[in-house]
């Protein structure tokens, strides 16, 4: 039986961690993240790149952020207390190599879709809304295509992917320009993101009610919303995969919430959109990558002797409290992801149960 996408992503992460280039990148990011270091004669030396890593981490877009800062360093107005210097060429090459790994992975995953619709493939690319950056033509991925093949195949075996590619709707999108598609997805995404918790937006609630009560879509707007939701789900799964690859390359361990750090599971709610948790944890060990917003975590705990929770989750909110009276605590709000790394699987399941229309769309 073919391994699921989530499992293959973690297997690819393990391969990445062993690569020499990844180790060099880990070391580079680590160095960039330190404001100063001690030399051999124990004198403190400021980081020659200044606050480069700090700035790059603000946008939380993996290697893209580093390259974007490097490209635009002279155009960004920084407050007086911050400074940043360009990357050296060997440093830039390493970061480009990391970025190229993610780019190549996305290209391979979306190659078949691109044949159907260039617009659709672009819309599914997690980086499509970001400004282009200059990448050296010689930049190569850390993983070869052969090494990426299992994870790419698992992605293409996903039910959401197959529903999208099997649908004839791609031609509709191919008639639209990318900006229109972007607007369409962004509108739906806003609704989805506002529903990643115990509250669901009015429009989405109405939509899920229709899904529960009908066997086919009744309007073109519902069809387009369903289609957009599947696109968002798939794009988010690619985004999470890229973030896990980035973490693996940078030597960042998966965040694990377990009985050794969980104080309380404050909320555990299943809605028609997602399965949502709010978990309070005691301080988690600090490392130099702590400025990075973690996207994916694992909750693996026993709330009681009879209950065990083992779920991967996509973080939607994180708050840290440094109270000097009660200690350091962090509250994570997250939605669980399924084996296809879909974070809104109750919603996508409901859509797939009805199925995207082939005939209906022509009538509409």
């Amino acid at each position: 039986m073919a391994a699921d996408f989530r499992n293959e992503v973690f297997l690819a992460c393990k391969i990445l961690q062993k690569k020499d280039t990844a180790k060099k990148i880990t070391s580079l990011i680590d160095d960039l993240s330190k404001s100063s270091k001690f030399t051999e004669n124990e004198t403190e030396q400021n980081n020659t790149h200044g606050d480069f890593a700090y700035l790059a981490k603000q946008s939380n877009n993996e290697f893209y952020s580093y390259l974007f800062i490097d490209d635009n360093i002279d155009k960004i107005e920084l407050p007086q207390f911050l400074r940043a210097e360009h990357l050296a060429s060997d440093e830039r090459n390493l970061i480009e190599s990391g970025h190229q790994t993610l780019v190549r992975f996305i290209e391979l995953c979306l190659a078949d879709i691109k044949q159907h619709s260039d617009v659709l493939a672009t819309a599914l690319n997690p980086y499509f809304l970001l400004k282009p950056i200059k990448i050296n033509a010689n930049a190569t991925s850390i993983l070869s295509d052969d090494e990426l093949l299992p994870v790419v195949s698992a992605f293409k075996n996903g039910r959401v992917y197959k529903t999208l590619i099997d649908s004839n709707l791609a031609w509709v999108l191919s008639k639209l320009d990318i900006n229109t598609v972007g607007t369409l997805i962004t509108t739906a995404e806003r609704e989805v993101n506002r529903s990643l918790g115990d509250d669901i937006t009015h429009d989405l609630k109405e939509f899920t009610l229709k899904l529960a009560m009908t066997t086919k879509f009744s309007s073109i707007s519902d069809v387009m919303l369903a289609y957009s939701i599947l696109l968002i789900a798939l794009r988010e799964s690619l985004k999470m995969s890229c973030h896990l690859f980035f973490n693996a390359i940078c030597g960042i361990d998966l965040l694990v919430l377990n009985n050794d750090n969980i104080i309380n599971i404050e909320e555990s709610i299943s809605t028609t959109v997602c399965k949502f948790y709010k978990v309070l944890v005691q301080e988690i060990s600090i490392n130099t990558f702590d400025d990075d917003m973690v996207r994916v975590l694992l909750i693996d705990c026993d709330p009681s002797n009879e209950e065990h929770i083992h779920e991967f989750g996509m973080i939607i909110a994180e708050t840290i409290s440094f109270s000097r009276e009660t200690g350091k605590t962090t509250k994570y709000s997250f939605v669980t992801i399924d084996k296809e790394m879909i974070h809104i699987y109750p919603l996508t399941e409901a859509i797939m149960r009805i199925g995207l229309p082939d005939e209906q769309i022509t009538k509409c």
Binding site: K205, M213, N259, I263, Q282, D302, P303
Partner: protein, 370 residues
């Protein structure tokens, strides 16, 4: 736990215990527990409880010269009566199950050594088993009296002061209910921080019960403390002191083995050591009582007070199978009115509105379907 009102807890406690000085009550107890006791057993239990009461009454007014001896005899009778009551038969005891060894090395009474004997029919072992503590104490080598005193929460601060140690085997807990759940704090001073931290590792099941310990400095009092939070599935491992304040008790490491002795036994064994001193070594005991210059006498007196108050209570708890708590607060009506904060009111209203609109949505969709 049952809470009883009393203005004289010690008297009322003994009144409760002395119900077992009546045959009819013992028979009722046996019947309730499916035990068939014979007449000898009944007489033995009655005698044990009555004698225990006499010794305790005498100990209350006795001088320190013999008070430990009277309390040890009283406790032995009481615990023996309890053992026979719980077993429904006379359990044979051959000797104390321990002996005292006077140390010439130490300058403190607490340096008196104790050696455990007769694991099968020694008094301390028979009583331990009746209390549910089945450890063979002879496997743990010789002890010093101070190793029992250091595990009694009620005298913990006096113990550290008297013997000038940085920590005993007790960590008192200050409990705070915060918006993020219950936390327990252990305050420390810079000089005993490491010792207390190390001691916590010796508390049985500490790592199963608590998350990693955090260290904080209170911004107002400037006092430093360890912050303890229970794990998601971590059970409470603290005990309650006489004042009701919870505490953690660390194990002793003896002969390479970890052992945590219950409070009632810590007290009983300590009483044995002190009674041996006053009964068999007056040349040591009398000068201590008459002209102690170390301050240890204050600690021993305090210990004797708590032993006199707590041992009978712990025995009653064991017999009744629940903790009996004597309080002097007058009866008050139980208030079940819940107070909710502004945030909670807002959340409740929001939830109600949301539920209302949800219902409306479902109804309108159902109508459309029809």
């Amino acid at each position: 736990m049952s809470t009883l009102f009393s203005e004289y807890p010690e008297n009322d406690l003994w009144r409760e215990l002395l119900q077992f000085a009546y045959e009819a009550n013992i028979k009722r107890f046996f019947k309730r527990h499916g035990i068939a006791g014979d007449d000898d057993t009944l007489n033995c239990i009655v005698g044990s409880f009555l004698q225990a009461n006499e010794y305790y009454k005498a100990a209350k007014d006795a001088d320190l010269q013999i008070a430990p001896l009277l309390l040890y005899y009283g406790s032995t009778n009481l615990l023996y009566g309890m053992t026979n009551l719980l077993n429904g038969k006379i359990v044979k005891i051959n000797n104390h199950g321990m002996k005292s060894i006077i140390s010439d090395k130490g300058s403190f009474i607490a340096d008196t050594e104790i050696r455990f004997l007769s694991p099968n029919d020694g008094g301390v072992h028979v009583i331990s088993r009746a209390l549910g503590f089945n450890t063979n104490l002879t496997n743990y080598g010789d002890w010093k009296l101070r190793e029992f005193l250091d595990s009694i929460a009620e005298i913990n601060s006096d113990y550290m002061e008297c013997y000038n140690t940085r920590t005993g085997r007790i960590a008192m807990l200050d409990v705070f209910n915060t918006p993020d759940g219950k936390i327990e704090k252990i305050y420390f001073k810079a000089e005993n921080r490491d010792e207390i931290h190390e001691m916590l590792n010796d508390v049985e099941d500490f790592n199963k019960s608590y998350l990693h310990v955090q260290i904080l400095k209170d911004p107002i009092t400037n006092k430093e403390c360890f912050i303890l939070r229970h794990k998601l599935n971590g059970k409470s491992i603290s005990e309650l002191s006489y004042s009701g304040q919870p505490y953690l008790k660390a194990a002793h490491i003896k002969n390479g083995q970890s052992i945590t002795i219950p409070t009632v036994l810590n007290m009983y064994i300590s009483l044995f050591a002190l009674s041996s001193l006053c009964r068999y070594y007056p040349e040591h005991w009398s000068p201590f009582v008459l002209k102690d210059t170390t301050g240890e006498k204050l600690l021993i007196e305090k210990f004797l007070f708590y032993a006199r108050r707590m041992i009978p209570n712990l025995v009653l708890n064991k017999i009744l199978g629940e903790n009996v708590n004597y309080i002097s607060n007058k009866y008050e009506e139980i208030n079940t009115v819940k107070h909710v904060g502004e945030h909670q009111v807002q959340e409740m209203v929001e939830r109600k509105i949301r539920d209302y609109f949800d219902r409306q949505d479902i109804l309108s969709h159902s109508e459309k379907q029809i």
